[in-house]
Symmetry: C2
Subunit: 211 residues, 2 copies
Amino acid sequence: MGKKKREILVQFNKKIILETAEKLFLEKGIKQTTMDDISKAADYSKSTIYVYFKSKEEIYNHIIYDHMCELRDVTNQCIKEATNFEECYYTICNKLFLLYEQYPLYFSSIMGNISIDEKALAENEILQQIYDIGEEIANSMTLLFERGISENYLSSDISILPSVFTLWASLGSLITMSNEKESYILKRMNMKKSEFLQHGFQMLFHSIKRR
Amino acid sequence: MGKKKREILVQFNKKIILETAEKLFLEKGIKQTTMDDISKAADYSKSTIYVYFKSKEEIYNHIIYDHMCELRDVTNQCIKEATNFEECYYTICNKLFLLYEQYPLYFSSIMGNISIDEKALAENEILQQIYDIGEEIANSMTLLFERGISENYLSSDISILPSVFTLWASLGSLITMSNEKESYILKRMNMKKSEFLQHGFQMLFHSIKRR
DNA sequence: CTAATATCATACTATTAGTTCGATTTAATG
DNA sequence: CATTAAATCGAACTAATAGTATGATATTAG
């Protein structure tokens, strides 16, 4: 078997394991899913699972990585297609919300791993890759903010990178919170989650908007 | 022994166990601290520990509860002493940051448990108490926002409760993030953590400020 | 002193991540 | 087809740890 073919097979096996793990994680929770569960459901022996991934955490990190790539693609898409900064801002906000709904288990990690500190990163390939994707996203957002300045939505003396990171952290936390507290929001604020989120997105828009 | 005296002893024992657990959690991490560790360090047998707390999670929740009480007291203090809304806002921001530094392990839970959804809350006394403290804090913040309106820092048609919760989530996430990414912030933005935070606090102030 | 209560030590169960290793299967290659 | 190397299997094993059970011992109230 040529080297190419083998490599394809390896990726194929990894993919099956990851997809199975993700399905189980969603069904019964990450903590509650055991390596034996994954092994049985994916129809590989446990030893084989450990050939492909050196720990459960590495499986988790690979899932995060894949979804961060999706996030990067989505944001880049928004930036490419938007007609102006403000529209792009709200589109990204709503896409982030969709991402939460699609991957509630991973959303915080996806958002929070944008440019994590470079600790113990060197030894771990997948963490390194996660870091790199985070940087790509941060760079795209920086470009978007520059566009915001040129379109006069943002002041030209805004500190771009600090603003990007503050906004990013706020959006991530807002979206997570609106889901965790959905019934509270309905009861105490008489708002649907989506209304609450729109309010929050507007609020945070004003945190960066030119004054 | 009178009932009073016994009750005092119970509280005393609980306190020792909690303090010991917290010390160990800080030293070696929460996950890495075993119930046997706590038992040995606190000098109670493991069985006795389980008389006072029904699980490790309950110990954790009691610690959270205690620190949420501190947070409530601190915010109330700020609100009482501040000369105006803006000053109070920044004082609370800085107090939150101090709280993070004091309790890095619990900060997210302290901030995030403000008014959690009422699920499975009924059966669990300490979670119920945590919920109640969260409500107290939310109420204080509501009063503060009303003062902000009357002092003309905030617009009179602001949606108070949604704004409080969005701000709260944003501040919590910002503070946590600034610590996790401290070295990144220094390297890429050439800012000390405290500078970055001041920038973020100002940004978020503009998200609520009257326009 | 007696009875109730609190504490103790110890051993136990159950779960699960991760390892080991020899047996078996698969497939490339001559 | 036969040889060989790589991949996979399976099953038993280790180590860690939350939580339980139990019977003995100590403390204290009345």
